[in-house]
């Protein structure tokens, strides 16, 4: 098991360190970003993607978001329903379940704490630039 994983990892380390770090950071935030996008009410997949793109600079691939939505649903954090639309085809809307709301609030609290302590630590760096 470990061998396969380390082979995959070895090819990754050839990337620029900072760039790789940024990619990992964005991936790590994606779950919170999706939950947060749904905080205001139900949305369908493309609306979630558009919200992530317009309200954050998380440029995410569609091929990542749809499987993630399906996983969050299996975990009981989201529920979904099909709604007929004017466009002539039904759309699959996602909404937070009570467990999803709880998870989003917890993650947001962790994020707030973490980012404010990081900002304090990083303040000298941004002044120095």
């Amino acid at each position: 098991m470990y061998c396969i994983v380390s082979c995959v990892k070895a090819s990754e380390t050839q990337n620029d360190g900072a760039e790789k770090w940024e990619v990992q950071l964005r991936k790590g935030c994606l779950e919170l970003a999706v939950l947060a996008a749904l905080w205001g009410g139900r949305l369908y997949g493309l609306e979630i993607l558009r919200r992530l793109e317009s309200e954050s600079d998380l440029v995410v691939s569609e091929g990542t978001v749809y499987p993630l939505l399906s996983r969050l649903k299996t975990l009981g954090l989201l529920r979904s329903e099909w709604v007929e639309s004017d466009a002539g085809h039904p759309r699959k809307y996602y909404a937070l379940t009570p467990a999803g709301k709880k998870r989003a609030a917890e993650m947001a609290a962790v994020w707030e704490r973490f980012s404010s302590s990081m900002s304090k630590l990083l303040a000298p760096l941004s002044r120095g630039r």
């Binding site: 995959v8 440029v59 691939s61 002539g88």
Partner: protein, 207 residues
Amino acid sequence: MNTANDTQQKIEAYLSRLRRNLRGLPAAEVEEIIRELRSHILDRLSAEGEPNAASVDASLTRLGSTEELADAYVTDSVLAQVEVSRSPWRVLSALFRWASLSVAGFVVLLGCIVGYVLGAALFLCAIFKPFHPHTAGLWMISDSSGDWELSIRMGFGGIPANGHELLGWWMVPAGLILGVGLVLLTTRLVLWSARKYRQSRALPSSQ
């Protein structure tokens, strides 16, 4: 009208490739995914005006190849299932799906089977030890050429020739603890490798 047909055909060809790649998942789940992505593609296209061959290609490229997409769906489904319930049966049935799609899944499945079988054997051996006190246990069996092998025996056969038992009654606590521990450890390793694999594969951006 002809272009409308062409675009329709392109989309359906993509979706039926995806359906084939998703074959490990339950049928209802596959149909749900196909339906959702069809609706997504149609919405993308109608947002960009009159659909043509180039815009269809662009919207399908943004979704990624059907193999990558199916792989992401299946590993995400494996992860979610293992997180929801850690029963070995759920883990194995999820792994069979993953193994049908990728080499990594197959390797993890093999490792998982080895871990579970060895864990179960140790556990059963501890259970049988009180019933077969002279034959059940961990045996070291050597042959005339000096080779030797370790054997976990449930005690249904006789005493093996040139063998001696290693643990005696310690087999009971050791077998119970190691057996259960190995099963739990295997499940954790499966979860860990699925997470690592997904992180390494997840596409960070469409650009």
